[in-house]
C-alpha cells in the first residue's frame, strides 16, 4: 500500500567522482553507511518519503548519477525532469570544489526550459583535519549562485536529513507560491494522492492545491 503524500519531487545528485554521492543517498534512504562503494556507472534510483510539516509528506525520487565526466552523455538526460538537485563536492578535495561551476553550467544547458533548485553540499565534513575548502569560501560561492550551502557527512550521519529536507521544504515553498508549477510532460513535480478520508490537514491541502491551478 502506497503511503499518502502531497507531492512527489524528483531530485538529482551530481558532482565529481568519489565525492560521496551514492553514500549520501544511501545514508538518507537506507540509514546505513558502507565505507567502500562501487563507482556508479550510469544512473541509479532511490526513493523516500519525508515529512516537512506534521501530516505533510513529500515523496522524493532521487537520481544518483555517475561522476566521471564521460557519463554525462547519459546522465544529462535526467536533468530535465528534476526539480531539485544536490551538487556535491568533497571538502578534502579542492578540485571537486573548483568543478562546481562546470557542473552548474552543464545542468543549465540541459535543463531548459525548466529550472532546478540546487543546494551546494560540502561532503565528508567528518574529515575536517584534511579540509581543503573552507566553509567561508564555499558559502561565498553558494551565495554567488543563489544556492544554500550545507556541510554533511554520510559516515557520521551529520546533516544528511537536513540537506534533503531543507531542499524539499524550499521547493515546497516555491510550489506553494506558484513559482514552480506542475506541468504536463514534466516529471519534476507531481501532485500526490490525497485520500477521501477527512483528516486534520485536509483544509490546508485543499487551499494549497487551489493556488496551483
Amino acid at each position: 500500500m502506497e503511503a499518502i503524500w502531497l507531492y512527489q519531487f524528483r531530485l538529482i545528485v551530481i558532482g565529481d567522482s568519489t565525492v560521496g554521492k551514492s553514500c549520501l543517498i544511501r545514508r538518507f534512504t537506507e540509514g546505513r553507511f558502507a565505507p567502500v562503494s562501487d563507482p556508479t556507472v550510469g544512473v541509479d534510483f532511490f526513493s523516500r518519503l519525508v515529512e516537512i510539516e506534521p501530516g505533510k509528506r513529500i515523496k522524493l525520487q532521487i537520481w544518483d548519477t555517475a561522476g566521471q565526466e564521460r557519463f554525462r552523455s547519459i546522465t544529462r538526460a535526467y536533468y530535465r525532469n528534476s526539480v531539485g538537485g544536490l551538487l556535491l563536492f568533497d571538502i578534502t578535495n579542492r578540485r571537486s570544489f573548483q568543478n562546481v561551476h562546470e557542473w552548474l553550467e552543464e545542468t543549465k544547458v540541459h535543463v531548459q526550459p525548466y529550472q532546478i533548485v540546487f543546494v551546494l553540499v560540502g561532503h565528508k565534513c567528518d574529515l575536517d583535519t584534511q579540509r581543503q575548502v573552507t566553509r567561508h569560501e564555499a558559502e561565498k560561492l553558494a551565495a554567488a549562485y543563489g544556492m544554500k550551502y550545507i556541510e554533511t557527512s554520510a559516515r557520521d550521519a551529520i546533516n544528511v536529513e537536513k540537506a534533503f529536507t531543507d531542499l524539499t521544504r524550499d521547493i515546497y515553498e516555491l510550489v506553494k507560491r506558484g513559482e514552480i508549477t506542475i506541468q504536463e510532460g514534466w516529471e519534476g513535480v507531481k501532485s500526490g494522492f490525497v485520500p477521501n478520508v477527512v483528516h486534520s490537514s485536509e483544509e490546508v491541502v485543499k487551499s494549497e492545491r487551489r493556488c496551483l491551478c
Binding site: V36, P39, V41, S73
Partner: protein, 342 residues
Amino acid sequence: MESAERAPAARDPVPRVDVYGFERPADFDYAAYEAFSSAYLGVLAHRAGRWARLLRGSGGVRRSRTVKRYVRKGIPLEHRARVWMAVSGAQAQMDQHPGYYHQLLQGERNSSLEEAIRTDLNRTFPDNVKFRKTAEPCLQSALHNVLLAYGLHNQGVGYCQGMNFIAGYLILITKNEEESFWLLDALVGRILPDYYSPAMLGLKTDQEVLAELVRTKLPAVAALMDGHGVLWTLVVSRWFVCLFVDVLPVETVLRIWDCLFNEGSKIIFRVALTLIKHHQALILEADSVPDICDKFKQITKGDFVMECHTFMQKIFSEPGSLSMTTISRLRESCRAALLAQG
C-alpha cells in the same frame, strides 16, 4: 557471520569465499547453491573431459563450429584463459607485439589518467579477498598496471569506469597482467563497439538497440517503459558498461564472457532479452518508476541466473532469432537518430 551461526559451518560444504576469491554475500542462498552445484559439478567434469580431448588434438584453438558448440557449453576454468586468448585474437596480438605491454608501463606517464585509475582501485571488488590491500600478492597493483597500460595504449578511450571491473575479472581468470591487457584490448578495441570513449556513442546506441528489440519482441514491456517515461539507460547501463559483472553471479558472467569472446557483442543482447523475456510477467506487475527499477534489479537475482548452464541454453532459445544483420541495421538507425539529437 550470522548465517554461519545458523547453519553450522562444519557441515557447510560450500565455502564462504568462492574459487575466485569473492566472499559470498550475507543473504547468499547456500541451500539453493548446493542443489545447483552438485548437478553442475557433473556437467563440469564431463565438459573437462571433452575439452581435454579437443585441446590435445590440435596445437591451438581456432574458431570453428565445434569450438562454438563447446564454448556455449562452457569453458573449464583451467582452459578459460587460453581459449579466451585464442578465440578473441588476443593471443595473436600479443604474439605480434612482444614486450609492448611492458614498454607501455615504462614509457611516459599521464598523471590525470593515473589519478582516475587510482581513485577506483580501492573500490574495485572490496568483497574479493585477492583485491584486499593485505592480500599477497594484492591484485590491486595488477589492476592498476593493466588499466594504466590500456589507457596509454588506447588514448581515445583512456580510462572509463566499468573497465576496472572488467579488467579485474580478466586478472582473476588469467592471473597474468599481459594477457589481461590484450583481452581488455580485444573487448574494448574490437568486440564492443565504442562503449567507453568519451562520447559513449556505441554504448548509447546499443541501449537504444535493446529498446528497439524489446519493442519488437516484447511490446508490453516497451509500453510499460514508455508509459512511465523510464529511459533504458536507467535500468540497463550497468549491464552494458560492466558486461554483467556485479549484476549476475560470477560463474554466469564467465559463461557469458566465454561466448562474448567467441561470438561477439550480440551475446549481450541475447542475455538482456532473455532476462527481460523470462521475467516479463513480473516486470509487468510494476506500476511506478521505483517499481520498474526494483523489478529490473530482481530479475538479475535468484535461481534462474544462478543456474548458469541452463541459463546459457536459454539465451540461445528464449529471445528467438537475432541475426547480426538485424543488429547492424538497428545500430545504424539508432546511431543516426542519436547523432541527429545532438
